[in-house]
Symmetry: C2
Subunit: 223 residues, 2 copies
DNA sequence: TTAAAAATTCGACCGTGGTCGGAATTCTAA
DNA sequence: TTAGAATTCCGACCACGGTCGAATTTTTAA
């Protein structure tokens, strides 16, 4: 059966909304773009949007997907699966970090919803979680085969552990504990190294960069 | 000089708003309580609220402070500074976790704003960060003195490391990777243990509870 | 005591995200 | 070809968070 007018329009309209979103969110940001504008730009009425997306945030996620696809593919091309675990994880997390924080407000919305999703968006956020976790897990499994992980170490448990450090990296950025990417890069390396070495015993860990350390030290030192 | 009518009223009005917030947020939740209602309940006009708080979220934080104070004091009373690091950290993080997630929507708003604060709320979130980090650091320093941490391990770096695991615990809850407190408790213990032992080498780590592990495993296994 | 100044109150008002039901369009079947 | 069923469209409408300036209350100074 031929694709009917209805199905074609539905596809086209959906794409028109996303295209408009990419343009307007990119130009003016998420908050500053109203649903009304978006509808006008897509050449449709406001109410129509809600036949395609349940919420403004959902449009935002559709907008993200394309960018995230690009981001992931960029990582996989520069990915060297023979490098040490530390380097591979650092490359992955840091390039994702750079992508997310390229636009502050954009990244904040995204990461808030991904990390602490409302029930309506759980499935959306889970899809993205999966890609991250899978990528990390693959790296870890290969690393374990090379003997870089303890034989009894569960790769999955290790995966979520590293994922936690990645979250902290982003949180630290938004909390203002460091303001340069260079510092964040070093902080990430220090945390990864520490996780691999273990806190209880093991080899010396690399220190955090002073620019990151000092604000935190000052914070903790305040009476 | 006597306290003028103005100063007294200001204090009273502020307290009236917070009291109304405690009641209404507690009864109906944050989202479902409108500023207008809040103003009526406090016996003032809507506009007046904005002479005391810049934003609805700021009222929410004022509401939180009292609860968080209570939560921290509850922890400090049950705190046993001679127990092993693992136990102390578990007690601290888990009781905070329970507090935060006692009301789902309340907790989500709070933790989103604390973890990825907007610039306007950075200082607010930093104040709360401080309390957490300080508490953790004190525990770690004492633990290090007892020889539970590697001598070269920087307590501050270790502090942020553990803090990351705490964030993950909350994130996992909101993402629905586990639905019972018991599972979360075990997951936290496993993560803490793993961090202490180190991922690269060291002793066997305790597994995550299956109820937590399985959804993640399934997620990662999906094609 | 009083009048000018300063601080505070408040509700009408704005733009927003999201809803809803009737109008318009497309599909189905005879 | 056509009538009626099913779907899609859309802008008036709603409640909300937040603003603003006129009106009120308190302070200050003569």
């Amino acid at each position: 059966m031929q694709e009917g007018v209805r199905a074609r329009k539905k596809r086209e309209t959906r794409q028109a909304i996303i295209d408009a979103a990419i343009r307007l969110f990119g130009e003016k940001g998420f908050e500053a773009t109203s649903i009304d504008e978006l509808a006008r730009a897509a050449g449709i009425g406001k109410g129509t949007i809600y036949g395609y997306f349940r919420t403004k945030l959902e449009i935002f996620f559709a907008f993200c997907e394309e960018q995230i696809d690009y981001s992931f593919s960029a990582v996989s091309t520069t990915h060297n699966s023979d490098a040490p675990l530390l380097e591979q994880l650092h490359t992955l997390f840091f390039s994702q970090f750079r992508f997310i924080t390229a636009n502050a407000e954009f990244g904040r919305q995204l990461v808030r919803e991904l990390t602490f999703p409302s029930e309506a968006n759980r499935n959306l956020s889970r899809d993205l979680d999966r890609r991250y976790l899978k990528t990390v897990q693959d790296i870890l499994i290969a690393g374990k085969a090379r003997g870089e992980l303890h034989p009894d170490c569960d790769p999955l448990l290790a995966t979520v552990h590293f994922y936690a450090l990645y979250l902290l990296l982003i949180s630290g950025w938004y909390s203002g504990y460091s303001t340069t990417h260079e510092d964040q890069s070093q902080a990430l390396r220090a945390l990864l190294q520490q996780a691999l070495a273990g806190l209880g015993n093991g080899t010396l860990t690399q220190p955090l960069p002073p620019a990151v350390l000092e604000p935190i030290r000052a914070l903790v030192a305040t009476p």
